[in-house]
Amino acid sequence: MTSPDTTIPTTKEQRNKRRPEMASQWQLMWWKFKKHYLAMVGVIALSVLVFLAVFAGIISPDVPKARNNAYLSGPPMGIHFLDAQGDFHLRPFVYARTTKRDPVTLRKIAVVDTDTHWPIEFFVRGGSYKFWGLFKTDIHLFGASGGFIHLFGTDSLGRDVFARTLYATRVSLSIGLVGVTLAFVIGAMMGGIAGYFGGVADNVIMRLIEFIRSIPTLPLWLALSAALPRDWSSFQVYLAITLILALVGWTHLARTVRSKLLALREEDFTLAAKLSGCSNSRIILRHLLPSFMSYMIVDVTIAFPEILLAETSLSFLGLGLREPVESWGVLLFAAQNVRTLAHTPWLLIPGLFVVIAVLAFNFIGDGARDAADPYSK
């Protein structure tokens, strides 16, 4: 039976060469996912958001804390190629703004001066910031020479809404990501214990989940975040908020994991692993969880917008993150009263980002669910 001259190919390429006809599970899922039109739209939208968040520092024309006293509560400034006379300019420009006092209300208002152009320039110097926390720089992707540019307008303090939104995207998405990761870990762990060991552990964890789910979420968040000390630094609050969101968000995933494990633990290969001398944690993590990893990823994609919305609502109510941290909820907090809405509707633009992000995640989750299901057409 033993052939002594069996050659053993050791490199991975040699081994891979043998199975060119095989598509891996992930490959099959990707092929199916690509056909899902809305999901691909979601992926693109999300990629753009992530790109904006990652490069927020360089893309925004100024730092978000910079105040422009010459343009308080200013409306968004459009970029033009054609001037008032109808002449085409190769270099895009914005019209200059001058401030004057309104004769009736005596409020300072900005007036568009269509005679003066502020041409847009690339890689200009502006307020200095730390690029990815690594080194200090003051290069910004674009700016208006001779004046200022506020694509989304400014708030009542003269801060650029565009820059603030980009920085807020960074915070909000990262809260979602960290929160979802935490929820994922807690959910997989609790669900794993409940499903694999069953019995008392299962009972306790399931009742705990039911208890958590029976509490109305908003009051629970409010209570938990109200318990945060007021003198915490914004970073501490940030961490605490993610933790709170994760503590509430893990229940759904735990249930999925449990139900899958209940079935899988009876499989003969679980017994086989056991009698190879595997520890329980090794069996759960290495043998059982991988068999429904795709489902878990789908669950996570669907849980993402929940956490995103939770953070936004909390901050909007003034109980989550607070100034000077920028998050979508914090920005929307400014747009709470009717007067603001009537006079400065552009403060609602961050809300648009929330909608886009939530929709994108839902579409992706939808597509991922279809792709992960081997029986769907």
């Binding site: 039976m1 033993t2 052939s3 069996t6 050659t7 053993i8 190919p9 050791t10 081994r15 043998r18 199975r19 069953g198 019995g199 499989e267 003969d268 290969f269 017994l271 086989a272 692993a273 056991k274 009698l275 190879s276 001398g277 595997c278 520890s279 329980n280 043998h287 991988p290 068999s291």
Partner: protein
């Protein structure tokens, strides 16, 4: 424990707990396994043979409990005897025994492999867990082992998934997995039941060959007396949680004493008999329910040698009728000492 005994089960009792009531599943099973020998545990479905074997690795389901008895195991190359019953069920101690010193293969080769991982990944896991070797070395070892169990192109097979394997190949891979740490005891729980007859013969041949080569002892669980005749040195016949007859295979097959063994052997189809249009003789009745255990000798309601007033009153003791052959029966016929060759001559 004798020096050449590697595993000894002493008076093992296992009970099923259900709604606070306890039902005996295994009642006082004792046997010895000598190094390098094959012991067959034979019995009908539900007689406790699988439960006994699972208890040796402490793999009993939650509802089943070892209530008393000992399972003594002497790890190879050591004089210290471990009582497996004393080890914590989930601890490091028993995990070190599982797969490393006592390995097990079981009935369902089709579902014993996780569909997600390659055969090589799963077979080499035992090696990676118990022997501190590099990944490359584990692979080389596993490929060698796959070759040993007769899988063609073992290096390719290493990277294949279970669905690419036939039932026989999977059982071979399972055997490779069980034997790759050189265990001193292999528990084979009906390893050939799910395979067709030709593959069955091949797997049995393989197991015999590997035993000769690697020298491990085997506890072979089966209900197929033909398989027993092929592979075992000793046999223990079980009925409802008790061993009713025990001894060397040749002796028991030539001279069965317990009425159950006698009937069991009579119920084996033989080609010669079929030619003569003889019908098989089934054993009267069926195995009673677990929850409705007969008193005394549990076989008495179906027994041809039933003695009224004795058999249902108490459990018959194990009687030695020759040096190695013992039987648990009240019938004087069954327990008559075996006539030795010298006695026959006189």
């Amino acid at each position: 424990m004798n020096d050449d005994t590697i595993l000894e089960v002493k008076d093992l009792h296992i009970k099923l707990k259900s709604d606070g009531v306890e039902f005996p599943i295994v009642e006082g099973v004792s046997f010895e396994l000598k190094a390098g020998k094959v012991l067959a545990l034979v019995g009908e479905s539900g007689c406790g043979k699988s439960v006994t074997s699972a208890s040796i690795l402490r793999l009993l389901p939650r509802e089943l409990d070892i209530t008393s008895g000992q399972i003594q195991f002497r790890p190879p190359g050591s004089d210290k005897v471990v009582n497996i019953v004393d080890l914590p069920k989930e601890g490091k101690g028993i995990r070190h025994v599982r797969g490393n010193q006592i390995a097990m293969i079981f009935q369902e080769p089709m579902s014993s492999f996780s569909p997600l991982h390659t055969i090589g990944n799963q077979v080499s896991e035992v090696v990676r867990l118990h022997l501190k070797v590099s990944k490359k070395e584990a692979r080389a070892r596993t490929v060698k082992m796959l070759d040993k169990v007769g899988i063609s192109d073992p290096d390719r097979a290493f990277d294949q998934y279970p669905y690419e394997f036939s039932g026989g190949m999977r059982q071979r891979a399972m055997i490779a997995k069980a034997l790759s740490c050189n265990p001193s005891v292999l528990i084979a729980d009906e390893p050939t039941t799910a395979l067709d007859v030709t593959i069955q013969a091949q797997v049995l041949d393989l197991m015999r060959e590997l035993r000769r080569e690697m020298g491990m002892a085997i506890v072979f669980i089966t209900h197929d007396l033909g398989v027993v005749a092929q592979i075992a040195d000793d046999v223990a016949i079980m009925y409802m949680g008790r061993i009713v007859e025990q001894g060397p295979v040749r002796e028991i097959f030539a001279n069965p004493r317990h009425p159950y063994t006698v009937n069991l052997l009579r119920a084996v189809p033989r080609l010669g008999n079929l030619r003569d249009r003889q019908k098989l003789t089934p054993i009267q009745g069926s195995v009673p329910s677990l929850f409705d255990r007969p008193t005394g000798c549990t076989f008495h309601p179906r027994c041809s040698a039933y003695i009224k007033g004795t058999c249902e009153a108490s459990v018959p003791p194990m009687v030695n009728i020759s040096e190695h052959h013992s039987v648990r029966c009240f019938s004087p016929e069954a327990t008559a000492p075996v006539a030795t060759a010298s006695e026959v001559a006189t």
